[in-house]
């Protein structure tokens, strides 16, 4: 699983019926210190994450297990909203979110 920050949303009208009612967000992966690492990814939201929030997400087939036993075609899913990260030397990660 990876840390990330919600940086945007994707709007789709025509989509696979299984995706109906699910939020699609743009996520910037972060390292534990809060620095961007890698390219932004598109992820489904299973926890109600909002703009600017720090989250963690999982990728691969396991990403669809957030809705188990439903089979949802996703390879990246936001599975938690991060309150705090504790690492040696400290982390600049903050919960974020739109104030």
């Amino acid at each position: 699983m990876y840390l990330g920050k919600v940086i945007g949303t994707v709007v789709c009208t025509a989509k696979n019926p299984v995706l109906e009612g699910k939020k699609i967000l743009v996520v910037q992966p972060l390292d534990p210190q809060g620095r961007p690492s890698g390219k932004p990814v598109i992820a489904l939201d299973s926890v109600g994450a909002g703009a600017g929030e720090t989250i963690y997400w999982c990728r691969g087939r396991e990403a669809s297990f957030a809705w188990y036993p439903a089979e949802v075609p996703t390879e990246a899913t936001i599975v938690a909203i991060v309150d705090r990260v504790n690492v040696p030397g400290g982390s600049k990660l903050e919960p974020g979110g739109r104030k």
Partner: protein, 99 residues
């Protein structure tokens, strides 16, 4: 999951019987701000996407979970037609066939 733009079609006469009737499209991945990433993929279309439209694609074994792709030899599927991408820095990226 990734954003991509439809840039072509694939015609195959001899193919796995479980791919019969499936539309195969050539897509080029794009970043959330609309720039080309330069990677080409062949994807099975499940949403009737059209030429030059921006689409949402899912890769890996999760692609088989898309409706119409169950138990078929598919590892990239188009699961949505993107209307718009909104990034938090207030740049709304219009994702349409106009490009």
């Amino acid at each position: 999951m990734l954003l991509a733009r439809v840039v072509g079609t694939v015609v195959a006469t001899r193919k796995d019987p479980r791919l019969e009737g499936k539309k195969l499209l050539v897509v080029k991945t794009v970043s959330p701000d609309g720039k080309d990433d330069g990677n080409y993929l062949v994807a099975v279309d499940t949403v009737d996407a059209g030429f030059r439209e921006t689409v949402l694609i899912v890769q890996g074994s999760s692609a088989r979970m898309a409706v119409e792709c169950k138990d078929r030899p598919v590892d990239t599927a188009i699961i949505g037609v993107v209307d718009a991408v909104h990034l938090d820095d207030e740049k709304a990226v219009a994702a349409s066939a106009r490009k």
